[in-house]
């Protein structure tokens, strides 16, 4: 959803752009003539329908033109300019992938086409508690794919090939009729699902709210060597931890510490660094290279966990374009000559890889047909800080998220099927695999509206990655919004859209899986109005799921404009909900917000609907019986909600202040911290990033006790912590609020990297409000902070150079006491397409 500012800009943009004059040839009058003429031609030649259209001169002319274009040499565009090389590649890849990939072609003409009237039921029943039924067999699964027309008998995997345009056209129109059945309102109304074993419903006894596996006390994983630090007082955190949403449920990150070592992921070059942190003394113990893939496969590390002496790194493997090629080294003169147009026969381009070597390329482009998958590799950490691999687990698909609870990792991916043999004989083509083995049919859930993509989940003990504890998959109809994991259950939030007449309805499907000791069990699902903002929009307490959504309701209106006045402006003469003579159709949006409480069987217990119309939810946080959320248009009502009675949630108060908070954090008893923006009340223009502290001791009368505008001290436009809660270093017991904020960006021509003016600051909150205790400015791409005992460590990422760790003594005025550089291992070893320049 667009923010208010952006909506205005879009409207203004449209006003300007629509002034482009429409050529006479496509005016309604001219079109009418054309059609009349076409009808006349048909009568003359005696034909009917589609065929005759092909004989019209216009049509034939178009076909010739298109045919000519197709027959033109398949060459790749040359785009000059600083960004030219990368962009030339990008467009070609888009064209190849988008147009010719069978998987992508297939989705045309399917559900959400045209005009199926899918009714989202009236408000009282707009949620639906559904049981999740699982597939009885792979055959059943295959039938779904057949219905979705994803089987392709031509098995055309060559991205440079393509089927005839005729076929494409037919699929686009006819698909709507058969695929429409998948969206029949009956399926939603009945709640029943065809076939398969039914799980859920009768609540499995073991998955209850009282989950003993949740560790009590001080918070998420602190890991192996909790250093006793003389400087830390009793009850205070001595080692910083990743700022996670739910106590006891660890989240992966790119930098972590266990009190002895600091672990840093270098994404650009596939390495995990281990640094021993001993006060200001930092020594690199391991510079562990992670798999970078090969010619056909690209491997990217995403994030990792580090606790209990084990480090688990999550890597994403993807296909990539590559040249089935021969590389012939060139001298500078030869390269210059080629760029000037003196091209040798058989060459399709030259490579300009980062380290300066230049070579000519021969051979066609290929697109590796390797399935995407995620690998989670566990390393044990030795006394000396070195990493030893204990093995890995692989899972089909693209990484969504993961969690670690009590040493067990829960991994979630999205898997899209690609081409499938028409007889369904090769099961591996349409069933996702974990560790290379297809998930059994009875673990694959099939909701009412299946599609050709899956949510895949698996669990394993970090120390034994080869052994899967449990796995599941769900045929996934909607779009991934987020996943929330409480101490008892996993909730997938999927964004759904349905058409009803000419307007769209947004809804969220929540899928619930309970988990314990790695065993995940499907429990149920529900649909609620609106979409969630992020994972913090959901919270579970005593089995009840509380969530807040924003619904963007699209309405169609018909407007008649009057005659232009002397300035060329037109007034609105009349509006209506129905079409009337002289009117034009326009769309407007209306925002509404809702709060729902679902019981553990995913049935609605209570709700508050249509809150703060015209505004959207920017942040939310729940604690115990109270929930807080912020909606925003130009001002920020911070709502407080009484959730003590699940069947009757009540709004207790709404504090209106300018700007909005993007992240809320319970700071201490009676205090709620907000990170967000200050905006102008009338125009909505950005004024500054800000910190807010709210006194919530009386939720009926919440007060803002202090606010701190970053721009008062130093210019900053964005801060990672606003949208990524893990980028925030927060330890209320030590009065530490740390994050980096950035202003201008700088582009370096030579290294072709960008960096920002960043400043990492530590703020505290005292009797006089917020104050900045420490600031560290750098030109870099990102900064993160953590502490061990009294020492603050700031990690600075620089895209071209690598990382630097700097240590500061917090007990001594933040005096800098150490620095360690971790230079990049090597420049990109590249045979990837990004570095190639193509000839025309």
């Amino acid at each position: 959803m667009l923010e208010q500012n952006e909506k205005k800009r879009m409207e203004q943009l449209k006003e300007s752009l629509r002034q482009e004059e429409i050529p006479q040839g496509v005016s309604p009058l001219a079109i009418k003539e054309k059609l009349l003429w076409a009808e006349a031609q048909k009568e003359d030649s005696g034909g009917q329908g589609k065929d005759s259209a092909k004989r019209t001169p216009l049509y034939r002319y178009k076909r010739r033109k298109l045919a000519a274009a197709m027959w033109a040499l398949a060459v790749l565009a040359v785009a000059l300019g600083a960004f030219g090389v990368r962009q030339a590649v990008v467009i070609r890849r888009d064209a190849l992938m988008a147009e010719n990939s069978p998987a992508n072609r297939r989705t045309e003409g399917q559900k959400n086409d045209g005009d199926e009237d899918l009714q989202i039921q009236p408000s009282a029943e707009r949620y639906r508690a559904q049981q999740i039924a699982c597939a009885g067999s792979y055959e059943e699964l295959f039938r779904v794919f057949q219905d979705l027309q994803v089987t392709d008998p031509t098995d055309n995997l060559n991205p440079l090939g393509g089927s005839s345009w005729e076929t494409y056209e037919i699929n686009a129109y006819d698909g709507a009729e058969s695929a429409g059945a998948a969206f029949g309102s009956d399926a939603i109304n009945s709640g029943a699902v065809s076939g398969g074993t039914s799980f859920g419903g009768a609540a499995p006894a073991e998955s209850k709210a009282e989950n003993e596996s949740a560790p009590a006390g001080s918070g998420p994983q602190t890991g192996v060597a909790d250093m006793e630090d003389a400087g830390a007082m009793a009850g205070e955190e001595s080692v910083s931890t990743t700022n996670v949403q739910e106590e006891g449920v660890d989240e992966a990150d790119v930098i972590k510490t266990d009190g002895t070592f600091i672990y840093i992921l270098q994404q650009n070059e596939n390495a995990l660094r281990v640094v021993r942190a001993d006060g200001g003394q930092m020594t690199e113990c391991d510079n562990h290279l992670l798999d970078a893939g090969d010619d056909t496969l690209e491997a990217t590390p995403v994030e990792f966990y580090a606790s209990d002496g084990l480090v688990t790194v999550i890597m994403q493997y993807r296909q990539k374009f590559y040249y089935d090629k021969e590389l012939v080294p060139l001298s500078k003169e030869e390269a210059d000559a080629r760029l000037a147009g003196d091209v040798a026969a058989g060459e399709v381009g030259i490579s300009n890889s980062g380290d300066g070597a230049v070579a000519a390329i021969r051979g066609p482009i290929c697109y590796s047909d390797v399935r995407e998958y995620v690998a989670a590799e566990t390393f044990s950490v030795g006394e000396d800080g070195s990493l030893t691999s204990l093995g890995r687990m692989t899972q089909d698909g693209s990484y969504r998220s993961s969690r670690k609870v009590n040493g067990i990792l829960y991994l979630f991916t999205t898997y899209y099927t690609s081409v499938i043999h028409a007889d369904g004989s090769v099961v591996e083509e349409y069933v996702p695999r974990v560790n290379g083995i297809c998930i059994p049919a009875d673990s694959i859930a099939m909701p009412d509206m299946p599609s050709n993509s899956y949510i895949v989940g698996s669990s394993f003990a970090c120390g034994t990655p080869g052994t899967v504890i449990s796995q599941f998959s769900v045929l996934d109809a909607n779009f991934y919004a987020d996943v929330y994991v409480s101490q008892n259950a996993i909730y997938f939030a999927e964004a759904g859209y349905a058409e009803s007449g000419t307007s769209y309805h947004e809804y969220t499907q929540i899928l619930k899986y309970t988990y314990q000791d790695g065993v995940m069990t499907p429990y149920g699902s529900a649909n609620v109005k609106g979409q969630i903002h992020n994972t913090f929009s959901m919270d579970e307490q005593e089995g009840y799921l509380r969530l807040v959504t924003t619904e963007n309701v699209e309405k169609t209106r018909y407007i008649k404009y009057g005659e232009p006045n002397e300035y060329g402006e037109q007034e609105v003469v009349e509006t209506a909900d129905q079409w009337f003579d002289g009117s034009v159709q326009e769309h407007t949006w209306e925002l509404e917000n809702h709060l729902f409480v679902l019981d553990e069987n995913m049935r609605q217990a209570g709700s508050i609907e249509d809150i703060a119309k015209g505004e959207e939810i920017k942040s939310a946080r729940f604690m115990g019986d109270t929930g807080y959320f912020v909606t925003y248009e130009n001002t920020d009502p911070l709502f407080s909600v009484d959730l003590s009675d699940p069947s009757d949630p009540k709004i207790m108060g709404a504090l209106k202040i300018p700007g909005f908070s993007e992240y809320l954090h319970f700071y201490s008893d009676g205090l709620l911290l907000g990170l967000g923006q200050e905006t102008d009340e009338e125009s909505g223009n950005f004024i500054s990033l800000k910190l807010s502290m709210f006194d919530i001791s009386d939720p009926y009368h919440v007060q803002e006790t202090d606010k701190y505008l970053l721009n008062d001290v130093r210019k900053a436009y964005f801060a990672d912590a606003m949208t990524d809660h893990k980028a925030l270093l927060i330890a209320p017991s030590r009065n530490i609020i740390g994050f980096s904020a950035a202003s201008d960006s700088v582009w370096d021509e030579e290294t072709m990297t960008s960096s920002y003016d960043c400043c990492y600051s530590i703020y505290g909150y005292g009797e006089t409000g917020f104050y900045e205790q420490f600031a560290f400015g750098q030109q870099c791409s990102a900064m993160r902070g953590l502490f061990v005992g009294d020492v603050l460590y700031i990690c600075t990422w620089r895209e071209a150079e690598g990382e630097t760790l700097t240590a500061f003594d917090m007990a001594n005025g933040y005096e800098q006491i150490g620095e360690l550089n971790l230079p990049k291992n090597f420049t990109r070893r590249e045979t990837a397409i990004e570095d190639f320049v193509y000839y025309e």
Partner: protein, 200 residues
């Protein structure tokens, strides 16, 4: 929706007048989306013509009047997609400088300039008080955006598409679409501030 349904019913019977009335309701957005996606008037006109023809021929498939707009836009999108494919296969002039997507840059100012010099027949009356000069600036800035960005904006502004639908068309997820959209707007803002001080 009485009259609208009647129109659709008559159009299905190949009543050219009725069809033209339906077309009139959407043609401006239709053309503008094609124009801003393809980048030149000539191809946009061709594509819209094709679309209308195909829609007319296939009108019997239309289930309800309310769906007409979505349906004809879908046809247009498919045709634009093919047109882009054709572009990718064409030799490209070196001056283009925008992701290899060719557009005859000299054409555009002509169309707007023609309007400025009064040759237009008044169809594009300035609405909301935006001057034609300012609109021209905006348009020129718009064509400095990348093809993906133009497609996202064109589909959103004129086709009324949501980010997930645009995502399907461009094969990226909805969040990526929204991010790119924001960035594109930011870029436009920057460009226009440079040119003329403020983008209203």
């Amino acid at each position: 929706m009485g009259e609208y349904d009647q129109l659709a019913a008559r159009a299905r019977e190949k009543d050219v007048n009725a069809f033209a009335m339906l077309y009139k309701l959407v043609y401006e957005d239709l053309y503008h989306m094609a124009f801003y996606m393809l980048g030149n008037a000539h191809d946009a006109e061709d594509v819209v013509s094709d679309t209308v023809l195909a829609a007319y021929e296939g009108i019997h498939k239309l289930k309800s009047a309310a769906a007409f707009k979505g349906w004809i836009f879908k046809i247009l999108l498919n045709k634009c997609r093919r047109q882009r494919k054709a572009y990718a296969n064409r030799p490209v002039s070196i001056e283009s400088g925008t992701e290899g997507q060719e557009y005859p840059a000299d054409r555009l100012p002509e169309t707007m300039a023609a309007a400025l010099s009064g040759e237009a027949d008044g169809r594009c009356a300035a609405k909301s008080g935006i001057s034609r000069e300012a609109a021209l600036d905006v348009q020129q800035a718009f064509f400095q955006l990348s093809e993906t960005e133009r497609t996202i904006l064109a589909m959103s502004l004129f086709g009324g598409y949501k980010s997930h639908e645009i995502g399907k068309h461009l094969h990226m997820n909805a969040n990526t679409v929204r991010t790119k959209c924001s960035r594109a707007l930011g870029k436009l803002q920057d460009m226009l501030i440079e040119r003329q001080g403020d983008f209203r």
